[in-house]
Amino acid sequence: MIALDVMTVLLVCTGLVFFVAGTAGLLRFPDFHSRLHALTKADNLGLGFIALGVAFQMTDAWSVAKLALVWMLAGLAAASVAQLVARAALDRLPDESGGEHKG
Amino acid sequence: MTAPLPGAFPALELLIVLPLAASLLAILLGGRLAPRIVLLLGPAMLVVTAVLAFQIQTQGPVRVEIGGWEAPLGIALIGDGLAGVFLVLTAIVMTAVGVFAQKPFGSEGAETTESYTFWPLYFAMWAALNAVFCGGDLFNLYVALELLTLTAVAMVAYGSTRAALRYLLFALAGSLAYLMGIVLLYSATGTLDIELLARQDTIEATRMVSGALMTAGLLAKTALFPLHGWLPPAHGSAPAPASALLSSLVIKASFVIIVRIWFDVMPDVAGTVFVQLLSILGAGAVLYGSLLALRQTRLKMIIAYSTVAQLGYLFFIFPLAGGAAAETPWAAGAWSGGMFHALAHGLAKAAMFLAAGLVIEALGHDRIDDIKGIARALPLTMFAFGLAAVSLMGLPPSGGFLAKYLMLTAALADGQIGLALVMLAGGLLAAAYLFRPVNRALAGDYVPEVAVVTYWRQLIPLGLALLSVALGIISEPPYDLLQVGRSKVAVEGIDD
């Protein structure tokens, strides 16, 4: 049983590392798009690891499936929203991106 | 199915189910047919309320355990005298206003915003009022009160958005305080049923805090003196049928809950300080409301401020209840007097607002300086206004007089000269600010040209005003109905 707990702790820690990285990116990166980039990528990966870690604690398969569903949905939502926010940002901050991208 | 015996006839439940069903039907049928529902529902409700009153009178208070679950778990409906009397008042005023509103919110031609949305709100308000008057569970009263606030705010919004918003803010604050009180009460006693709560006599501190919170919240909704800021603009600028409902019924709902709290749930907790505070606020309301009503230039604003004033009387039952000592049995009428005042005021105020509505329909405005001679153009309407004014002033032979007399006797027997003087002063001030418009309406010798107002619609306010006056004459049946299931505290007094 100890092995499962050790695996969980390990995985959750790596997940946390990614979250910290994402947040550091949010605070440190110069412009809007890079911050957005950092956030979506790092946090999503972090969430994946944590979900995996927690999966080890689950007793039945259904719960694991639900966790996977949660992670997949979160990933999908994050990706779509990042796209939309990036596109919206383009219209409002034209000087940063240089080129004229039609929305 | 044979006609059920009056005993087994589910009158109380029908009073909730019918208006709710009508509201849903109104949403479904749309603006063209919705107004016609009231022509069916009104009489039906009057009949059901009459049967209920008969049941209460003959078999004592009716108690309905909803869903078959008894008190602590399920919700109970109480059909005692107090509930019966207010349900009858609601049925009468609602039917009258519903028939009156056929024209302004009618459906000739295409469906408009008003003709569609008014009727679901109207029936939902009716259901909410009935739910509040016979509710037996405090949280259930909260949900019914919120439904009532929603419909009331929406009706005010027909007239002025700003007034509706101010009303909503006060109502929100009020409902939060009331909710907080419920949370504390439930956590302390483990039940929300009024009858079970009455048997609790422990944890005095928590019950006092929760009582104070609930009362503060309900005072905001009843617009008692310091918290009345929202009422005049709301009742003044809402359309006439809406203001009639607001002034005569909606504010009485939260008042009845306060009565239930302090006369049924926790009479022993109310200290003399609390009772005195209510009487002072009531006196303030009477004087402040009347003085401001004197200064208004619009008819509906006068009536709205008059509501603020007349509300003050209702809160005199707290200091005056009791005084049922053996040698002065006639001095125990304050509680019933207060309820009679609520009834007479309800009928008279509805009549007045409808009359004002007719004046607005006829002249296009209700500025007092320019309604010269309207008494000749709309004789019946102004006669109804005058009759309602008589009842509001508490002049015999009206219901208002009977209420004032009962409360005055109790006040003087109890030695509270101050309250007696305030009541008399209130009556005089009411005479001052109500005769001003009547005087102006009689003035002038020409008949102003007016838009045509159909004859039978003028009979509605007249009917309500006559009922308000008749309350003072045929006062035996309502009085006996009121005594059924009345809490003994109402006769022995609150301040322990």
Partner: protein
């Protein structure tokens, strides 16, 4: 502290009380109506949190189901009121270009 000692239920109940305080602060301080509506929602959730916490009976057997049901009802009622408040506020802004309730003379709108 007397009473139930510092177990998590009491902790959440106290948090509820403080939330109500914060909400009341917001309700009084702000003139902008949207912020007052937000404050109203904070107070509401604070009250419900306290209600639930006071009904919490130890880690194993969860919270007393009756408060839970009442809270769900309360949340829906709060949403309805917020929706109406927001709709009224937007209409007020469209009509009079303001989002506050200055205490001036009552509305001059004629009936009908």
């Amino acid at each position: 502290m007397s009473g139930a000692g510092l177990d998590s239920a009491t902790l959440f109940a106290l948090t509820g009380a403080i939330l109500i305080g914060i909400g009341v602060y917001g309700f009084i301080v702000h003139a902008h109506l949207l912020r007052r509506i937000l404050a109203f929602n904070v107070i509401g959730s604070g009250i419900f949190l306290m209600f639930g916490a006071l009904g919490f009976r130890g880690a194993g057997n969860g919270t007393d189901p009756v408060p839970q049901a009442l809270i769900i009802t309360g949340i829906v009622v709060a949403l309805s009121l917020t929706a109406l408040a927001v709709a009224l506020l937007v209409k007020l802004a469209e009509e009079e270009g303001g989002a506050t309730l200055p205490e001036e003379q009552p509305g001059r709108g004629e009936a009908e």
